[in-house]
Symmetry: C2
């Protein structure tokens, strides 16, 4: 099931990417440590439309998004249901890592909806990095705790809000998504039909 990872473009480890890493959480590391960590992972650019993970496939890699957009979706009664967008400087969900390597088929798909540059590590590479750099495990623990808090807040927010409130929240906090993502995916993401989202958008414009 490696087919979906074929034909990406190798992306060189540029100073830009290194700096980006250091600014986004690796500031406790010496530059040479960051370089060593980055060199153990690979960085690849995938074409728009690439499926990184299929439903049923055993996830074996984790992804960190440097540039582009990855969509998570489920198939429910034959219909795509979009549940997440991962953009710049976000970890992309990976059950491979998130369950400590437990072998379980994925319930969802991951699709690049733009040309997307990702850092990729296998579960084995991650464990090796933890062994070589215990500080890296601490960084990952803190990052995972931060992400957990975000997901707990996202779930609470979703429980408490109407689709219109969710759309307004996207406009205010992730407005770049509105232009990058097709309407039907956005609608699905906030839990409504595209027609309902069109009505909400009209109502907001008229205010």
């Amino acid at each position: 099931m490696e087919a979906s990872l074929n034909f990406p473009t190798e992306t060189p480890l540029t100073e830009d990417l290194l700096l980006n890493c250091i600014e986004n959480g690796m500031s406790h590391f010496k530059d040479e440590e960051v370089r060593a960590i980055m060199e153990m992972t690979s960085i690849k650019t995938f074409k728009k439309g690439t499926i990184l993970l299929h439903e049923g496939e055993i996830p074996s890699k984790c992804f960190y998004n440097y540039k582009g957009c990855v969509r998570q979706f489920y198939l429910k009664d034959g219909e795509e249901r979009t549940t997440s967008f991962f953009t710049e400087n976000q970890s992309v969900t990976s059950t491979a890592i998130s369950t400590g390597g437990r072998k379980q088929g994925s319930k969802y798909y991951l699709e690049c909806i733009e040309d997307t540059t990702l850092s990729i590590a296998s579960h084995e590479q991650e464990l090796e990095l933890f062994k070589q750099f215990p500080k890296f495990e601490t960084l990952c623990r803190i990052e995972t705790e931060r992400e957990l808090t975000q997901y707990q807040e996202k779930l609470a927010y979703y429980i408490m809000t109407s689709p219109e409130e969710r759309y307004l929240n996207l406009l205010n906090n992730r407005s770049e998504l509105i232009n990058r993502v097709p309407l039907y995916q956005l609608a699905s993401y906030i839990g409504i039909k595209p027609e309902t989202l069109s009505r909400i958008r009209k109502r907001i414009l008229m205010k």
Copy 2:
């Protein structure tokens, strides 16, 4: 803001509690390590109705639930909105830990809705444990990754389902909650008014 933690009953570190810990994730530890870890945290029983954390309060402790039920709720337009129930062998959300000690007021309340026995550790105690037992940090990292996966799945599930599907899911997977939790809290948790939940329950009974 420590007032909400007053007057709990001290609970002795019994063999039962130790065994429970070992069975739930600490199986990689020697018994004496588990004992040392457990002795650095404290175990207390709180009366039903105790507020463990208020909105605006800086969270300074993390809780693990041995017995009982903790409800997380937000106040939105003066109305309680229930967003989580933490029962036996679940970590209770704690922003103190989840943001690596960042000092930020809580957006929600934590309330014991039954007499509840919790293991309690401060952020400082947690860091000390990580220093003394690096294996404990690994355990916490894996546990946090597992929880993150669960929350990602919960959010995706919530996005994809109707309130009726959510209620049926509770019946099938967390049926104990139905008897332990007041109807208005359950309704809020699945995103509807109590009247709507009553109608759903009647519809299901008639099938």
